[in-house]
Symmetry: C2
Subunit: 210 residues, 2 copies
DNA sequence: GAAGTCATGTCAGCTTCTGACATCGGAGGT
DNA sequence: ACCTCCGATGTCAGAAGCTGACATGACTTC
């Protein structure tokens, strides 16, 4: 494998985070990041397709985790519950990185460029989820909508998790968001019987996989 | 107002679309676009913050339409129905531009840069919708979720509208998407009574505004 | 017709990103 | 030990996107 100093990729990521914190994202050049990592600009672009990617390289792992969780869920489980369970399964991994997320998220929110990148990562995640659902026999348009609903739940849950001073874990917020989504869509049309229930945060419906 | 040849902005948009069709997005430079419009590169960047924006300048109008439709909806209407009605209200405007959308959408889907921009426009739309819902007294987290659900519905509906060989109007697809979303979330947990209905695409629940 | 205003042009420069080619340092074979 | 190969990194040149500062030209207004 690699000779030279090891972990070039991580060194670049660390250097980037440091510099973004020190001077802000747009007053940091790729050349500076590379220099701090003891590398050259050209090498940076061998590891990351562009400057933004240095903050998003973990997204493929996330995608894999979710896709697997969806594929492995019990056959009878309803698609929306499968997705919610898959999101809950991310909880431990997120818990480890709460501190990192707390630094990273404000940075992303402050820069449209980075917001865009985050959004396309989520869109890619949605596609992967939809694909995985179709593997379970869910029809295409439904799979797409469930995946989008899953993203909506995740966004809502993640946002609250980051801000949560009580430090509830992500899984908790996922359950809350799903319950809220159910309340929201529980109007008429499908089951014209029961008018919105009053209970605020019902117990979740299913267990987490993995 | 402006002297010189009028409609610089539209000339730039038209030139851009032409060139993107002829050579593709990334083999078209801003300089070329400006030249075809009879202007200079510098002027292009006075009208559009970056190269991508030339394809997205109408998004603010869209946002305004939706925000107003939400604000003007009847008091008693459930938030999700308010949003769906607002989306249905866009139908006529979209119908006029079906041909344009048919050229533009494949272009966007083929280029990650443009996908990103589209996604952030939708995110901005979601924020605006949530804000407008809060103006109706909807609680913050609920407003955010309803807005995200609205975006999910819109994406689903728009995608099908673009591909629809039968040329149903957008409003129709919005109703279908909302109905599907209701089926999806209609599991247990909120109303543990009725097991998933079998009907595939139920009639819509509410009327459209405008 | 002088002054002012606003859209546009000109120019210089930075940053991001890429292709082509050179180099360096270890792995493995002999 | 030596040679050869290969993969990670460096070097260089350059295109394209984007910006600030300032100049210019056209049309309005008084």
């Amino acid at each position: 494998m690699g000779r030279w100093e090891p972990n070039a990729l991580e060194r670049l990521q660390d250097a980037a985070m440091q510099l973004f914190q020190e001077r802000g994202y747009d007053r940091t050049t790729v050349e500076e990041i590379a220099a701090r990592a003891g590398l050259t600009e050209r090498t940076f672009f061998r590891y990351f397709a562009d400057k933004r990617e240095v903050l998003f390289s973990r997204s493929k792992e996330l995608e894999a985790l979710i896709v697997n969780a969806i594929a492995d869920a019990p056959k009878e489980m309803a698609p929306i519950d499968v997705v919610a369970a898959a999101l809950e399964a991310l909880s431990p991994g997120f818990e480890e990185r709460r501190a990192h997320a707390a630094k990273r998220q404000p940075l992303i929110l402050a820069h449209a460029e980075l917001r865009e990148r985050e959004l396309i990562k989520l869109a890619s995640l949605a596609s992967a989820m939809a694909e995985s659902l179709r593997g379970r026999g869910v029809e295409k348009t439904v799979a797409n909508l469930v995946a989008e609903a899953g993203i909506a739940i995740f966004k809502s849950a993640f946002e609250r998790w980051v801000e949560d001073t009580k430090k509830h874990e992500l899984a908790h917020h996922v359950r809350v968001a799903l319950a809220e989504l159910r309340l929201i869509t529980a109007g008429a049309s499908v089951a014209p019987s029961s008018p919105l229930p009053t209970r605020k945060v019902p117990r979740r419906s299913r267990s987490t996989s993995r």
